[in-house]
Every structure is written in C-alpha cells, then in structure tokens.
C-alpha cells in the first residue's frame, strides 16, 4: 500500500482577482521510503500541493475536492486538532528559506526539541538531550554548544541542518522538502541534499523533494512528477524521465537542462511563453499555448492522464 495517496485533489485560493485554481485534479502517490521529486516551473502548484497535504493553505486557500490518504487515513476529513497531531509527527516539512524559517528569539535547541515535547510528551530536559543527538545526526559541529545558540548565530547551511533535525525529531513517515537548498550556496546545496537523502534512507522516511533543479532529480529521486499549471503532466521513474520523456513539457525542461558551471541565471529551465493564468484556466491542456506539437485536439478539454506503462504516465493527447 502506498504511504500517501492523493486522489483527484483540487485546491483554490480566494484572491481579489477571483478564485485562483492553483492545483487541479491531481493524482499522486508516495511509497514508503521512496523519494519522489516534484518538478515544474514557478507557479506550477508544487508548494500548494505540499501545503495542502499538511492543511496549511491559510485563510484564503481551500481544498475543493479529492482526498489525501496517509496510511489509509483521509487527511481531508481530519479536524484541525487531528491535523495538529499529524504535522511534525507523521509528516514533517522543510521549507525553502532557512534564514527566516527559524524563530529568531528561541534557541535552536528548543526549536528542535519542541516536536518531541508536543507529540511524544517528552520533558524539556529529555527533549533537549534528544535535540543534541539530532544536531549530531545532521553533522552540526559541537552540537551541545549549539543548543543555546540563536538562528542568527548560524550560517544558512547550518540553519537548514537545524530545520532537517527538527523535521526528523519525531521520526516521521514522510518528509516534505520544498526547495530546501535554493537559498544556499552551490557547494552547501550538495551537502544538504546528500545529508537529507542519507537520513531518509537511514530512518526509512519517504521524501517528497520539490525542486527546480533537474540535476538534483537525477541524483536523488526514485520517481518524478512533473507539474504544470496546477496539473501533473507526467510521472515516471527518474531514469525514464531522462531517457524517455513522454510529455512535450518534460522534453522542454530536459532540453533546457542547464550547464551547471554557468551562472545561476542561465541554469533555470526556460521555455518560450508564459504559464497559464490560473484565475482563468484555458479549457484544454494548460501547456497548449506554448507546446511545439500543439494540435486542435489539445484545446478540446483537458487531456486525461494515461498510463503508458504501469509506472510511466502522462497527460497529453499527442501521438508521436
């Protein structure tokens, strides 16, 4: 059985410009212990999907339909109190900005220890002792001395290690990392990702790794889901995405795989055209306006998601 099974999920936000349909009828699953990479350009709905899993969409956001099953429990039906027991315990999340994601006025040891107090009923001294071990696990030098330090005393890489330690505290079944290294130096990025991967393997946690970086995908992911315009365009095992991409959008991403030695601006995948306006989504395939293989069929309704092999699927009506 899948650890996490997302079925036909749609999420929208109330905005001044009307309802923004950020995620539309997506299906996604994560098996125990595997690493699923979610890729796609900015605004494709990756973060919204992650926040929907934890029910952290905020005041303006809402799940319009679908279900999110975690080990058979439908999280969409959960009350806020039930969700609080899931967050940080069964599923934890690591965010993009290590600079601002830690509380500036609380020592890092306490922040790492907090989930244990909250979910395991640990006493603060026990939890702090465990936090020291966690800091050691994420390879922070002098973990004991770091417990009482504040986030501003740590470098960006160290802070992200603290975030990882915090996410691991309650040995979650699933860790969601939303572009965990985008804000870091290139050399630090590699270290942090390697650490994250190593620790998930060690603890048996599954990982949803949201990223822009296809190089990261190749190295760390077991499977890949490609998102565009709030939909899943293609999913496949990581090796197949590279060797045999089946969706024109995925191919576009692949051909724009950057030269890693170039400057950052050149490394972001670029495809001609603008992403769709999610407040007024097009009637057909969201990628049609930018697709080099567009045909009339593309605008006759949203292409259904089809499985080409048991593990490789796409949402495209093209036949070549």
């Amino acid at each position: 059985m899948a650890l996490l099974e997302i079925d036909n999920l749609s999420v929208s936000f109330r905005t001044d410009a009307g309802r923004v349909h950020a995620v539309n009828n997506i299906n996604l699953h994560v098996d125990p212990g595997e690493t699923l990479a979610v890729v796609g350009e900015s605004g494709s709905g990756k973060s919204v999907t992650a926040l929907a899993i934890l029910d952290l969409l905020g005041e303006a956001g809402r799940i319009d339909n679908g279900s999110i099953q975690l080990e058979g429990d439908n999280l969409v039906q959960f009350s806020e109190a039930d969700m609080q027991r899931v967050r940080g315990d069964r599923i934890s999340m690591i965010f993009q900005e290590p600079m601002t994601s830690l509380n500036p006025v609380i020592p890092v040891g306490k922040q790492v220890a907090e989930p244990l107090v909250l979910h395991r009923g640990a006493s603060w001294p026990d939890a702090l002792a465990a936090a020291e071990d966690l800091l050691k696990q994420v390879a922070i030098p002098d973990p004991e001395g770091r417990l009482d330090e504040y986030p501003h005393q740590l470098s960006g890489g160290m802070r992200q290690r603290v975030m990882i330690a915090m996410a691991l505290a309650c040995s979650p079944k699933l860790i969601i990392a939303d572009e965990p290294t985008t804000a870091l130096d290139v050399t630090v990025q590699a270290q942090i990702l390697a650490l994250l991967k190593e620790l998930t393997v060690e603890t048996g946690a599954a990982l949803i790794l949201i990223t822009h970086d296809l190089g990261v995908v190749a190295r760390y992911a077991d499977r890949v889901a490609v998102m565009y315009g709030g939909r899943i365009m293609e999913t496949a095992p990581a090796r197949e995405i590279y060797g045999n991409p089946q969706h024109p959008y995925t191919r576009g991403l692949m051909s724009s795989i950057p030269d890693l030695s170039g400057p950052i601006a050149d490394r972001l995948p670029t495809i001609e055209g603008q992403p769709p306006d999610l407040a007024n989504p097009p009637p057909g395939c969201p990628f049609a306006p930018r697709c080099p293989h567009v045909s009339t069929a593309c605008n006759d309704g949203v292409p259904p998601f089809e499985w080409l092999t048991p593990t490789h699927g796409r949402a495209c009506v093209g036949h070549e």
């Binding site: 952290l56 609080q84 967050r87 934890s92 900005e97 994601s101 509380n103 609380i106 907090e114």
Partner: protein
C-alpha cells in the same frame, strides 16, 4: 554591559543640559512676570517694593548668571526654592512625584492589560466583527481627549445616580483602598487613552509576525494556534510595542497634568499647573528637569530591555 550603561548615562547629560536651558529661558519669556503677580495681591505697590522683592528673589541678576547659579545648585542636588512658598523645590517634588508615578504606573498597567490581549485577539481574528469592534474602540479612545472623558465622568454619574468619583487624596500607605478608590478613575482614563495606540501597534505587529516563515514552521510542527501565538509569535511581536511604551511616557505625563487637575490629585501635574500660573520659575524648571530625566531613563531602560527580548541585540 556596565560600561555600556555608563556610556549611555553620560550621553544623557548634553540632552538634559539643553532641555534645561530651553525650559529656563522659555519660562521667562512667557508674558507677565512673577513680581507683577505678587504685587497684584498687595495693594501697596511702589517701584521700591518691586526692586526689593526682585533682589530678594535674585531676579534682578542677568539671566545667564541666574541660570549658572541654578545649574550650580542642581549639581549639588539643590533645585532652589519656590518663589511663593519659599519651600525647597526638592521637597515639593518629593511630595508630588510619587503620586504622579503611582497614577502613571496604574495607567500603564491598565493600558497594557487592555491593549495587548485585545491587540492579539484583533490580529488573530483579522477582519471579523470582533476585530472591527476592537479597532473602532481604539479609534474612539484615540479621538476622545481624556479631559473631556474626565469631565463626563465627573458630571453624568452625579446627575444620574448622585455618585461622583471621590476627589480626596489619601496617601497609599495610609489607606490603600481609599487611595486606589481615588486614583482608579483618572488612572483608567489615562490608561484607556494610552491603550488606543498600544492596541493598534500590537495588532499591526502581530499581523506582521503571523505572516512570517517561522510561524508557518511552528504550524508545520503541529502547534495549535494558541500555542503558536504564545510560544512563537508574541515575543517577536511585542519587541516594537515595548519601544512604543517608552515613546508614550511623555504623553502619559501630559495626560496626568490634566487629569490631576480634574480629579484633584496632588501630583506633579497639579504642582506644575499652579507653578505655571504663578510663574514660579524654580518649581517649573525643577519639574521639567525631573520629568526629562525620567523620560530619558525610561527610554534607556527600554533600550536595555531589548537585549533581553531580542537575542540579536544581545550579541552585538
């Protein structure tokens, strides 16, 4: 740390010096002088009388030498004597300062206990009816001058219920209940007017903090909304509010001057008002000096409390 405090204290001296100079000079520029007022109380008023009184009070000296001798006295802890009562100004201050301090302290406590919880509530329930009510209330408190509210409290209850607030001052250590009975109404009025700004500031700051990434992290850990606010958001949100309290101290004193008058509280405000009417220069200068020093010290204390509240400041 001690060296830092000492440096900050020394830095206060120039400020105090200029403030005292301004007060000393400007008091004497107010039209109508103290001798005229004194002579007007007696019928016999000749120019000899005038010269005699003037020299007795030392007012015939040039302004500069008056100032220098006043500063000389201040440095030895002598603020001079009241021109009218001939009592030492320090003694008058000793009697009235604690009373105003009590009034201000009560007002501050009232302001904070009203403003901070409502500000937090308002931020957590942004744009709900509760938030609108709280914001309207604070706008109202901001708009209504406390002397007007004070007058209402004096007039209407006595018309409606034949009750009016007690106007007799009783020292706190003599009879705390009677003392609070008297002080509470002006303290509430003063506190409410101060709470308006504090409440808005608390709300704004909390809204700002609730948008921060670390609040999202706290939620993602599984903290309930209340725990998130009290453990993670509040301390960050209140740091700027503390500064605001420092900035409000002069306003608090200004409000106290008026409310002491209405409710016959024999504090520094009442003393100041009488002194201004009578052009009792040494008393006025003494009060301003003490108030100025107080405001500066309170703000210093607040700067220091930053180190306690904000670890970033502590490590600088």
């Amino acid at each position: 740390m001690q060296a830092y405090i000492a440096r900050r204290l020394i830095a206060l001296l120039p400020t105090l010096f200029f403030a005292s100079l301004i007060v000393f000079v400007s008091m004497r520029l107010i039209p109508g002088d103290v001798i005229d007022l004194m002579l007007a109380q007696n019928d016999i008023a000749t120019s000899q009388d005038r010269a005699r009184i003037e020299s007795a009070l030392g007012l015939d000296q040039p302004l500069l030498s008056q100032y220098v001798s006043w500063v000389g006295g201040v440095l030895q802890g002598d603020l001079g004597r009241s021109l009218w009562q001939n009592t030492p100004v320090t003694e008058q201050l000793k009697a009235s300062l604690p009373i105003t301090f009590e009034l201000g302290f009560l007002a501050l406590i009232i302001a904070l206990t009203v403003a901070i919880p409502i500000g937090i509530y308002s931020a957590m329930r942004q744009d709900t009816p509760g938030d609108y009510i709280a914001r309207s209330f604070s706008l109202l408190m901001l708009a209504i001058p406390s002397f007007w509210l004070g007058t209402l409290v004096m007039v209407f209850p006595s018309v409606w219920w034949r009750w009016s607030p007690p106007l007799e001052y009783v020292p706190f250590f003599e009879d705390p209940i009677a003392n609070l009975n008297h002080m509470l109404v002006p303290a509430i009025l003063l506190g409410l007017s101060m709470s308006a700004v504090t409440m808005r500031m608390t709300r704004t700051m909390m809204l700002e903090v609730l948008r921060q990434d670390y609040v999202r992290t706290a939620r993602a850990k599984g903290l309930s909304e209340n725990m998130m606010v009290f453990r993670h958001a509040l301390r960050n949100g209140l740091i700027p509010v503390v500064t605001l309290i420092g900035l409000q101290v002069p306003l608090l004193i200004g409000g106290a001057v008026i409310l002491e008058q209405i409710f016959v509280v024999p504090g520094m405000g009442l003393l100041l008002l009488e002194a201004v009417f009578q052009r009792d220069y040494p008393v006025i200068s003494g009060i301003f000096l003490v108030v100025g020093l107080g405001v500066l010290l309170i703000n210093l204390l607040i700067d220091l409390s930053y180190g306690f509240l904000d670890p970033k400041v502590r490590h600088q």
